[in-house]
């Protein structure tokens, strides 16, 4: 079937079987390989993307559910020349080590800061609890999120 959705601000028409995972459509059909697969069962959050304002694990979403949706992937976060403040803070504070969880973690942070522009530590811990990281022990990630919250103007 043909799925039409807006991905990173651009309308795309995708020919795909309706039950194909959104993750595979992003990676294989659209070559947006910044979205990663870690577990394939919705536990690790490496495949997290934002669909209609919600943070979702794209390995659990059949692409038919993305018809007409607004989708943001990691590729849609940075501007042409400069990093998004969240990306800048992950880079400076050591929030990324091996980098494989980083795209999902950054999108989870983006989602968190939209709902809690000045999150407490507990809100950060809960907001990122669906995204597993094996390298950092999360402490540098918490710092990066706090730093990003300070940089992003509250609307």
């Amino acid at each position: 079937m043909t799925i039409i959705s807006t991905i990173n601000g651009e309308e795309r028409a995708i020919e795909a079987p309706p039950m194909k995972r959104l993750l595979d459509v992003l990676r294989e059909d659209l070559h947006l390989t910044g979205t990663k697969e870690g577990c394939g069962e919705g536990e690790c959050g490496a495949c997290a993307v934002i669909v209609n304002g919600d943070l979702v694990n794209s390995c659990l979403v059949p692409v038919l559910q993305a018809d007409g949706a607004q989708i943001t992937t990691i590729e849609g976060l940075a501007g042409e020349q400069r990093l998004h403040p969240i990306q800048q803070c992950f880079l400076e504070e050591g929030g990324a080590q091996c980098g494989i969880c980083t795209p999902g973690m950054i999108l989870a942070t983006h989602h968190l800061l939209q709902h809690h522009p000045q999150p407490t530590l507990v809100q950060i811990q809960e907001g990122l609890a669906g995204n597993l990281c094996r390298c950092t022990g999360y402490a540098r990630i918490f710092k990066a999120v706090q730093q990003a919250a300070n940089l992003i103007p509250v609307p």
Partner: protein
Amino acid sequence: MANQRQIVGQPSPRKEGAAKVTGRARYVDDLTLPGMWYGATVRSAIPRGRIVSITFGPAIPWHEFTIVSAADIPGENAIVHVTSDQPCLASGRVNHVAEPILLLAHPDRAALPAAVAAVNIAYEELPAVFTIEDSESGKGIIWGEDNTFKTFLLQKDRQPVPDEVWQRADFIVEGEYRTDAQEQLYIENNGVIAEYSTTEGITVRGSMQCPYYLVEALAHVFRLPAEKCRVIQTETGGAFGGKEDFPSVIGCHAALLAMKSGHPVKLCYDRAEDMAATTKRHPSRTRIRTAVSHDGKLLAGEIDFTIDGGAYVTLSPVVLSRGTIHAPGPYHWPHLTVRAKAVATNIPPHGAFRGFGAPQSIFAIERHMDKIAHTLGLAPEEVRRRNFLTTGDRTATGQLLSDPVDLDRLLTRALEESGYHAKRTQFAKENPGSTIKKGIGIASFFHGAGFTGSGERRLASVVTIELTPAGQPRILVSSTEFGQGTNTILCQIAAETLHLPYDDILIAQPDTSVVPNSGPTVASRTAMVVGKLVERAAQKLLSILMQSGHLPEDFTPEDFRRAAIIYLGLHGELRSTVEYEPVTSIFWDDERFSGDAYPAYAWAVYIAEVAVDTNTYTAQVTDFHALQEVGRVLNPTLATGQIEGGIAQGIGYALYEKCIWQNGTLANNQMTNYIIPTSADVPPMHVSFEEVPCPHGPGGAKGIGELPMDGPAPAILNAIEQATGIAFTQIPLLPEDIYERMAAASAQAIAVALTTAETAA
């Protein structure tokens, strides 16, 4: 010189960081080669037996597939590490569940699962062995003559413990301690892409720590010269040892499929396959018997340290060696014997995992030090303090500690910073009236940096720094980046030595057709050993440019670039290559298992605080202090991140991560039921460093990567003992384990109370 800005010691941003935070970094599964097919593996369903027949189900169009069996292997059917007992593909018999038997390739990835399921393998099952005890009982021999992969005998002063020491000791304290397997759980699974051409040979790119290990493995399996086996490391999404030896297996498999199919073949495992089939941390059992004086001095010790190596040798002897050397802990032993053994079981082979044997034996000795303290009625910190190794002492292997060691000071500082004494008193007072029982515990430990024993001499690592046509220095090493910061620290070291800005230094992607063999990226050796070589190569490059007369004594980055371009114009290229030079004062005797085990040691005191909920029986780490002496810190952000990540893995090792084996099969090979710490499970972590420059590393650095894996588990269980009054001796310690012992303890308390009441009546 114009540029005197210090770069080593600064929090320079991660070299490949921008690519990682934007999603531009390319991991192996992000790559697609023209004409590429996909691979899959058909694996053993039983732990041990003979393969009777292999048949192919009728529903699959098999002519579309490439099928590889052991018969297709041009060279030796073996994955060679220490020995060659592990077949590349099983032939005739299998020795563990998930052992690879056949390989399939097809242009459509989606066609593979059904095909794998349609291969029917009939077996004649043979009795299998799953535990250390079954293996050593000798009832079933599954490997060699006695199921023993390797033994070591470590004796202080190469003498046995004299009998009279046991007779005159005030106390003899004995204990047995166990640790289970642990999955590395890198978030990126193992994966590679292989290409084959009859003229060019093999090219494998993929997720790995040690490109030259794979070169060697390919050369054996394909009977090709090493120059025809090219290996390229792609961005690697975590490794922790799990991509040290295993890429030799998956890399050879993909290359066999590429050779037979005539296409590039991508072989990337999904999570379930990765967890079921690849290596984990060795389970261990440690028995300790100590003779102790009434004032808490260790008089003698006998330690039996046994690890379960799984079905094939892989790296077990090397893991055993590190575990043996770390078994005595950072203590002075007048007399000590360590008998160590790695045994075979029909479990998938265990392999490298951060710490490499040391977390197992350190868990045991650090729980045992608390047991000694309780037996003697002394404080745990006092027993440790009275036995610490110090400058000028000799370790159990006879190594003279000539570099400064001050564990006493580390302990004092850690106790102060964590508020240890006040908290211990407070918890002791509050626990009886609370359903939440709190505790605080210590672990003091050391970790040797670099390859064990004569390893660095044998590796003879080589590092090159070249000038690019634009006059930029580029580091060429096979040392890989997989999150720990290799790229960043090596560039910092080169920048500081060359008096250039950090951003001016390039580092090549590890490609064995381009980079020399700087050794494997393991054993906390990259910063200290490879970093030192980078420092020397940079010094040499600078002196060549200066001697050429084109670079003034006092230069700017622009002067450097100009001089570099003039030099390249005259000579065509500039490559500064250096090789590891053995430190003549350091010597290790492999046969006697004695001497200088490591060029340097990192030292640490960790303090864990826990809360055990007596309604749910869950233990939570609520605060953590980690103080370590790792020489000079090269990059504080990266170093702190390494320690914090290691603590989280240590918390998982202690409290969450359990491998459940059923008849040799990992039953919980999913992230759903193999539980690692989430962001909600980590405590505040207070990480501090004492910086004592080390003569062996660049700018005084020592190794750091594995150290933080060693201390958390014993510190946490020591804290749980204060909280619950129960001496747990095994990890992982899950709520059901705590429930079992606490329920038994309270049942016993009730029985005692009833008996007392009856007697009184």
